[in-house]
Amino acid sequence: MTDQNSALEQLVQQRYEAGWVTDIETESLPPGLTEDTVRFISAKKGEPDWLLAWRLQALARWREMGEPSWAHLDYPPIDYQGISYYSAPKSPGDGPKSLDEVDPELLRTYEKLGIPLHEQQMLAGVAVDAVFDSVSVVTTFKKQLAEAGVIFCPISEAVRDHPELVQKYLGTVVPARDNFFAALNSAVFSDGSFVYVPKGVRCPMELSTYFRINAANTGQFERTLIVADEGSHVSYLEGCTAPQRDENQLHAAVVELVALGDAQIKYSTVQNWYPGDEQGRGGIYNFVTKRGLCAGARAKISWTQVETGSAITWKYPSVVLRGDQSVGEFYSVALTRGRQQADTGTKMIHIGKDTKSTIVSKGISAVRSNNSYRGLVRIAPSADGARNHTQCDSLLIGDQCGAHTFPYIESRNPSAIVEHEATTSTVSDEQLFLCQQRGLDAEKAVSMIVNGFCKEVFRELPMEFAVEAGKLLEVSLEGAVG
């Protein structure tokens, strides 16, 4: 290995900055998953019977299912009975009504994360729902949103206060039987966010949820449901972190988006779960099902993700384009380093006429990681005039990593046009040398090249997130240069 190469390796050494543990009193279930676990969670939330029945059915389904094995991932078997399915900060019975009731330790946690929960600090005007382990701890800006008619609350609260909306849409995009992890989530989900934007309303601010897994041996199973009624617009941001622990932790979330006619949903994620150490010890197993339905004509759903964390990422934010002329987008940057493994991509299912989808995926593999793009573009016979364009690029940094591309194209309509392109490149010694010869240090050079590589995706992020994402990549790639 050349000196240049080892310099490169050092460049991409990880430094995880969100890895501390919050010392807080929690109420947790002992590990194990039975019908009683599900009944306990449901009772804890004071859920109606239909939801308990739905959960139990999901559990029954899950027990019949096998863990999927098709992904380009290698990890030891997960002991699903060794996980605690419920952990919540001990707080007054009904949860905090305002920030004053929130455990100060928790607030300090969020401050450390740079997530502003105090409304007076909210210059950016972003409404935040924070989910700590399994429970939503606080939602900000509720009043202002209520004035616009927007509902933004923990899903447990929505079940209580807006049961008709939850019952109408829950599981319609990702059915409980959809896949192994979705079934598991359906049985044991403990909280998450719910958003409803009424007809014709443009949500007055960005909505945001921050997820944090804190307790040891805990799985996190949040469930998010966003419904944008006809002609409405909403932009939603999601961020995730977890403490540094030697054992692996499971995160199996479900996100469902429903966009009715002429509605638009933009969903952005910056995922920075703990990725494990350089030997591959610890880290989050991130098995997430995210799917949006363009239910009506001219609906639009756009997924943007920046994935830098997790030991294992298994995630395919998808769009079902049912409405005529509906639009689906997927913009992704996935960076893996250390021993991280990511198998991520999207599915665009074209059903309606003149539907359009765009996929831009940028995978960066460094050190000993493996980074796979897996994407499906399916054109149904009904999808006259459908269009898809996919651009899928991989960047390899170092000679011990892997970059993989697995696109699936299934077309059944002659008037549809599907185009897929994939390329692979590297940060070469020559490029580095050139930059250095022109006076840039290696760190700056790599960061510049990577940023240029990701530009198309960063452009899609809301501004507050774009800054964060850029910083995150820089931190991830930062290190001592020899």
Binding site: W70, H72, I379, P381, D384, S394, L396, I397, G398, D399, Q400, C401, G402, A403, H404, T405, F406, P407, Y408, I409, E410, S411, R412, N413, P414, S415, A416, I417, V418, E419, H420, E421, A422, T423, T424, T426, S428
Partner: protein, 425 residues
């Protein structure tokens, strides 16, 4: 349809029955091949639901116990075309048995049922194992090092005329000595309901040069499963040029391994399916050494009620630095009842490489169609001309003029009958 557990079980039973009824092996080499295949077949799992390798093709179509019932007489060979003006070394293999060898050129040795039967370790394909287990014989073709053959070697895999459903297990190994130059023609001939479960192995020694032309343009009830395993050594060059029509099932599993530095693989494939045909190209290229190149061009047309599949996997091993690997697949979908499935894959473990793939699925360009019609071409003719033009680049790459002409004529004939959507899209 994905095979159910029940179907798997019935098929396994039929295999056992057939194994018990096999004729005595003609040579110890065949006995060894059978024993090896039988052991491996028993150890391997048959494709079932959720099998990624058979995602887009019905393995169940092959797992019909009737196909394994030993047929009596298979009848005379079906009619086999001959190329005008070419006198190849010609091997006629009818349903697995070598029945005729013509015009053996100096430097070429043809040995039936003898010689080493080397297996690639850990081949996961049960049907490849089945080919060995049920073998009635195999053929070894050896081309001496340094030979420059003046005429092609033509390998005809043909069916017999009998209409009884059955299966055949042809197996051919071609060893091309160092520095030799060979043109190979492979034909798949026959339209009856016969499962031809073929295994072709090509060992290409250093600096050898092989141009392999594969033609299978007959549609019908034939079930053609062909495993083509190619090992390419240093500085050797392998070209695979194919023109294929669909059949009840035609599936090519091409596995090219570039073992030697500086070796080169080129592939150009033209395919056409219609009227219930199914065609599946599974192409895997493994770059196992540095400085190799692989370039693939796939052009496929799927007309009414047919399905065309391409899985094009490019694997770049850690040591395969300075690889140049490209794959382009373009597909024309002519009818709503047709389907195109494309799965180009890249699996890359080396950083200093140039790899790309591109895939498109669409229909005939409406503007080109209008252009031709505005010059007086009928809709049908315009579509036929544009369809043929789409494949022309591949056919033009054929190195043997009369073979290219034959393919051109067959395709043009086929396109003039294609059923199209009433409305141009």
């Amino acid at each position: 349809m994905r095979p159910s557990a029940q179907l798997q079980q019935r098929f396994t039973q039929a295999v056992e029955t057939r194994l018990a009824a096999l004729n005595a092996p003609p040579t110890p080499s065949v006995a060894q091949l059978r024993a090896h295949g039988e052991a491996r077949f028993r150890a391997l799992e048959l494709p079932g639901r959720g099998n990624e390798f058979w995602k887009y093709s019905p393995a169940s179509a092959l797992m019909d116990p009737d196909l394994l019932v030993a047929a009596g007489s298979i009848g005379a060979p079906v009619q086999i075309p001959r190329l005008p003006g070419v006198t190849p070394t010609r091997l006629l293999i009818v349903e697995g048995r070598l029945v005729n060898v013509e015009n053996v050129q100096p430097g070429v040795t043809v040995t039936p049922n003898e010689g080493p039967v080397e297996e690639r370790d850990g081949d996961p394909r049960p049907f490849v194992a089945l080919n060995a287990a049920l073998s009635e014989g195999h053929v070894l073709i050896h081309i001496a090092a340094g030979s420059r053959l003046s005429a092609p070697i033509e390998l005809v895999l043909a069916q017999g005329e009998s209409r009884v459903a059955r299966s055949a297990m042809p197996r051919v190994r071609v060893v091309v000595g160092a520095g030799a130059e060979v043109t190979l023609i492979e034909r798949q001939v026959g339209t009856h309901r016969v499962w031809t479960n073929a295994v072709l192995e090509l060992a290409i020694e250093p600096e050898a040069n092989v141009a392999h032309h594969r033609v299978g343009l007959e549609t019908g009830q034939g079930l053609w499963l062909t495993a083509l395993d190619v090992d390419v050594q240093e500085l050797a060059h392998y070209r695979l040029l194919q023109a294929l029509a669909g059949s009840a099932l035609r599936r090519n599993e091409v596995d090219v391994r570039l073992h030697g530095s500086g070796s080169d693989f080129e592939m150009a494939s033209a395919t056409f399916t219609q009227g219930g045909d199914h065609l599946d190209n599974q192409v895997a290229v493994q770059h196992l050494a540095s400085d190799c190149r692989s370039h693939q061009t796939h052009r496929s047309i799927a007309a009414n009620e047919s399905r065309t599949v391409l899985n094009g996997r490019i694997y770049i091993a850690r040591d395969a630095q300075r690889t140049d690997a490209q794959l382009s697949t373009k597909n024309l979908l002519l009818h709503k009842s047709a389907e195109v499935d494309a799965k180009p894959e890249l699996e890359i473990y080396a950083d200093n490489v140039k790899c790309a793939h591109g895939a498109t699925v669409g229909s005939i360009d409406p503007e080109a169609l209008f252009y031709l019609r505005s010059r007086g071409f009928s809709m049908r003719r315009a579509r036929s001309v544009l369809s043929f033009a789409f494949l022309a680049g591949v056919v033009d790459a054929f190195g043997i003029q009369p073979l290219g002409d034959e393919v051109r004529a067959t395709l043009e004939q086929a396109f003039s009958h294609v059923e199209t959507d009433p409305e141009p899209s």
